[in-house]
Symmetry: C2
Subunit: 187 residues, 2 copies
DNA sequence: TAGTCCATGTAAGATGTTACATGATTCA
DNA sequence: TGAATCATGTAACATCTTACATGGACTA
């Protein structure tokens, strides 16, 4: 039984962007370095090997683009399988552990929702995220209340920063649900 | 010329906690799994090797604690060098790239501020963070304004989530500065 | 005596970082 | 001709993940 490796966060970011339009490794590097997706590394040592792996797994297909003058580019596009795998990852239930440890990854899932899934999936996602955040925040508050006295001030403040971030996320999910409510139509 | 490897985020989290009181690998794992520092991995495969590396670098010292009954524990404590290295990392200037790519790491730096540095350092840190956040947010807003039309709705919403998170952080820095203002005394 | 918690570890493997390398084309 | 930008890559290295392994002590 061969167990397939799950794709990394970077791998999904690449798949999502390639799903918007065919892109080369260089395009992807530039995108990461010049947009709010700058939180991803634009290092060639991360991106080119990652693209190679995606190709080996059959999630993207590459073809040479020979332009006049400019140097040849390797342009990648999604395969049907790549699209399906992204969608599957994207539409899985929101787990508590993701909220606690990988909020960024969850937001990445959402960012490409319109592209691969539908309005129903987006709303399901937001509902799930809302539920998990709403359940987690009281835990953080309780911890804060019980331990504030025994924690250094900077520690308590850092915790408060985390709580506020979660609360901001929670408020955002409501805005986002409202925004989807105004849009009509599945897809 | 030997170039020392910088410590990982996990390594600094371990140093910070060991700096509060001597702790074993098991203590640290439990701390990660049962407090808001749950965003760190409590995997033994990450923690025990990391502790070993810290010891090799002379940042912690281990000694066996033989209790009656219970199994022997290896308890780690900070060395002077470990303390100095943490402090140096903690008090370095807040860089834009940290704000953009490693906000969590910055908060970790702050969380242990009282322990290793002083009130002056904490305030300097908060000022630096405030400055960088205040400079970065307009960039995000501009990008949002210019590209909203051409982005899928979910993409634009995800970006808005990021902007709001930054804004929440910015507000927090002001609260934190005020809190330190009320405390008196360096250290 | 079986399960749970205490406690520490290793092995294999994937991924990412940093630094280095190379070559084409455009433009001053 | 030299610098900048386009464009793709590799090599060495460190770190982390997942899974496995082990064994003592307590308790139902």
């Amino acid at each position: 039984m061969v167990k397939a490796n799950p794709n990394s966060t970077l791998a999904f970011a690449l798949l999502g962007l390639i799903g918007q339009e065919p892109r080369s490794g260089y395009d992807l590097r530039k995108f990461f370095s010049s947009t709010p997706m700058i939180s991803f590394s634009d290092s060639p040592g991360a991106i080119y090997p990652a693209l190679r792996r995606l190709e080996k797994r059959g999630l993207v297909r590459e073809h040479m683009e020979k332009q006049q003058n400019l140097r040849r580019r390797k342009v990648f596009q999604l395969t049907a399988r790549g699209r399906a795998e992204f969608r599957k990852w994207q539409t899985q239930p929101v787990r508590r552990s993701d909220v606690v440890r990988n909020l960024d990854r969850l937001l990445l899932r959402f960012a490409f929702m319109d592209q691969f899934a539908g309005k129903g999936d987006a709303l399901r996602f937001l509902k799930g995220l809302h539920k998990e955040l709403a359940a987690y925040i009281p835990n953080l508050r309780d911890y804060h209340r019980s331990n504030r006295e025994s924690m250094p001030q900077s520690g308590a403040l850092a915790l408060e920063s985390g709580i506020r971030t979660c609360e901001a996320q929670l408020r955002w999910t409501r805005t986002a649900m409202a925004a989807y409510g105004e849009t009509k139509g599945e897809r």
